[in-house]
């Protein structure tokens, strides 16, 4: 180490860290190598503008794009027992957890929200792959139960976006128990006659696939998402042969009858709206963007009232 790295580097870092670090301005598409400017990339829902490769998207960004006007209310999820097994590998589980919380700014690996999509009230739950690979532990179990209970209480459909490396090993058998546990949550929805739509995103694997992710009324996947029980590496080791191109990818599963549809992220919202409104016996959604409230043509004698309403809202804000 010389004086340059000791002295100059920290200064440069401090200059940049207050604003945006250069790395965050650009994202390189892992599929085609195109450098994507972050604004454009975010506007395109984290899909490569060049090759349509779907990259991970955190639940908050997904919900902001999914819900009308980006407005949603979080559904409270109770925190489970902290570090139930007192688990320690090379790191302690609570330390891994803290690092994940710091890195993501989230409490855990699933976000549950309620709001409207295409003016259709729904409950949505999304798994956060950036939080310990989205792994399913007791919290994810709690989140799915909270989502199902809220859906039943408000008589809304549940849309679940799955993304996980599997079960949370650090919770051992208790993570495995979330398989039957979340299955009970799915049964609550079915018995209440509410639609349960699963959107499988990259990657959905292991115990997650073998429970709530494969029990939907409708299964939609994002293009090229890896969806499997056993991962390709484990299978190659077992059968000692190379797997075919596209094996366990969304399109492959569609061909093998495990999915209803493979849908581009850009079209997901309108497709969900269409399906959910039919399943719940509602009128077709209004096509295209809904007019903003102030543009709604009103009868002459209602104009004053509408104007007052808007003003009041401004005052409150």
């Amino acid at each position: 180490m010389n004086w340059i790295s000791n002295y100059v580097r920290p200064r440069i870092n401090s200059l940049f860290s207050r604003r945006e670090v250069p790395e965050n301005l650009w994202t390189k598409c892992p599929e085609c190598g195109t450098m994507l400017f972050h604004r454009e990339f975010a506007d395109n829902l984290h899909v490569c503008t060049n090759c349509d490769h779907h990259m991970g998207i955190i639940p908050r960004d997904r919900f902001a794009a999914l819900f009308d006007g980006g407005i949603f209310a979080e559904v409270d999820v109770p925190m489970p027992t902290h570090d139930p097994l007192h688990f320690k590998d090379q790191k302690k589980y609570p330390d891994r957890m803290k690092a994940a919380q710091k890195g993501t700014g989230e409490r855990e690996a699933m976000l549950v929200a309620e709001g409207e999509i295409g003016r259709t009230p729904i409950i949505a739950a999304a798994q956060d792959f950036s939080f310990m690979a989205g792994s399913m532990g007791m919290y994810v179990g709690n989140a799915i139960i909270a989502a199902a209970e809220r859906a039943v209480a408000t008589k809304r459909p549940l849309v679940l976006f799955s993304a996980a490396g599997g079960a949370r090993m650090q919770e051992g058998i208790l993570s495995l128990m979330q398989m039957p546990r979340t299955t009970v949550a799915v049964q609550m929805l079915k018995e209440a006659g509410l639609p349960y739509v699963v959107v499988l995103t990259h990657p959905t694997t292991g115990g997650v696939t073998a429970s709530y992710a494969m029990l939907g009324d409708v299964h939609i996947a994002e293009p090229n998402a890896l969806i499997c029980f056993a991962g390709p590496r484990v299978i190659e080791q077992t059968i000692r042969e190379k797997l075919p191109e596209g094996f366990q990818r969304a399109e492959y599963l569609l061909d093998h009858g495990m999915l209803d549809r493979v849908t581009h992220r850009r079209d997901m919202k309108s497709e969900l709206v269409t399906i959910l409104r039919m399943l719940t016996g509602q009128t077709p959604a209004v096509a295209g963007d809904l007019p903003k409230p102030e543009d709604v043509p009103a009868a002459p004698d209602a104009v004053a009232e509408a104007a007052t309403g808007a003003a009041e809202q401004v005052d409150e804000a």
Partner: protein
């Protein structure tokens, strides 16, 4: 012949010596070795007791996987009468990794099923080492349908390293089959009892262990991942399986403490592989007691409600802080 486990080596030496002495005596009538041999027997007996008194988690894994342990087929043949195997998933194939059918436990007609690992090279291959494919789980679903329709209790014997990680298994929907089997178990209106008799490997085990009463044999294991798999992921070193086995809390004793299982069935000293008949009898007794209790306690919807509640409660478990 006894198949000794690695940690039983000192025991193997003593038992070997006693056997050698007796063989020598048989060859030479003048020799009297009985006193010495008996002393060795006693020493071996004490050692066996000591070894099995406090098995580490990794040793438990080895015992749970011991090839001489009684397997599903042994229990079904010994404990049930009129066993009538039923085959096939009505879709694709009959998976020999899962066996099951109608039988009587005492006088009670039941549906019994479980994973069978096989006991020699030929049967192991035929049974795919107890690793089921989707057809196996779909057979489970079919048998559950049957039990539900005719109000027959369901008894499941769990013994699998896990669901089979193969190409065809994935193509035919391993995940979906496991998920549906678990879902089906939750909806059966007759009593459902599971016993983990050896290895309870991950999702492949859960599909046969979503029961009103879940029991484990004393030296069986039940885990979200194999210790070897966990070690290679979290320690980046598959040789750290001892540490992983410990951390995962996969022994029957750990699971009882965590409130995940209901009852531990004791094994004779030295494990089920040394006293197969006694172990099978102990499982039979536990099954009769638990089935009688369940049949008395609740019926139909109440059994479904209890089963669901049992698994809903799996969000508030854990060791004391």
């Amino acid at each position: 012949m006894t198949n000794y486990l690695e940690f039983e080596k000192p025991l193997a030496e003593i038992e070997g010596k006693a056997e050698e002495l007796r063989a020598m005596a048989r060859a030479n009538e003048e020799m009297d070795v009985e006193k010495e041999a008996l002393a060795l027997d006693r020493k071996a007996e004490d050692m066996l007791g000591d070894l099995y008194k406090d098995l580490t988690a990794w040793r438990k894994c080895q015992v749970a996987r011991h090839p001489d342990r009684p397997h599903c087929k042994d229990y079904i043949e010994a404990l049930f009468t009129e066993y009538t195997p039923l085959a096939g998933d009505r879709n694709f194939a009959d998976d020999h990794a899962v066996m099951g059918g109608l039988a009587r436990l005492g006088d009670v007609p039941v549906v019994v099923m479980g994973q069978e690992k096989g006991n020699d090279t030929k049967s192991r291959i035929e049974r795919n080492f107890g690793m089921a494919r989707p057809e196996g789980y779909r057979k489970v679903i079919r048998l559950m349908d049957l039990a539900d329709r005719f109000n027959l209790p369901v008894i499941m014997l769990v013994d699998t390293p896990g669901a089979y990680p193969g190409k065809g298994a994935e193509e035919r929907g391993q995940s979906e089959a496991i998920a549906r089997a678990t879902e089906r178990s939750l909806n059966v209106k007759s009593p459902v009892i599971s016993v983990i008799i050896g290895e309870g490997g991950s999702g492949g085990a859960v599909a046969l262990a979503t029961a009103n009463t879940v029991m484990m044999l004393e030296h069986s294991i039940y885990s979200v991942i194999s210790p070897e798999g966990c070690a290679s992921i979290l320690w980046k070193d598959a040789e750290k399986m001892r540490e992983a086995a410990e951390a995962l809390r996969l022994t029957a004793q750990d699971l009882k403490e965590l409130g995940v299982i209901d009852r531990i069935i004791s094994e004779p000293v030295g494990g089920a592989q040394r006293a197969r008949a006694d172990t099978i009898a102990a499982v039979g007794q536990a099954l009769e007691v638990e089935l009688t209790a369940l049949m008395k306690k609740a019926k139909g919807d109440a059994l479904i409600r209890d089963r669901r509640k049992k698994f809903l409660d799996m969000g508030s478990k854990g060791l004391a802080a």
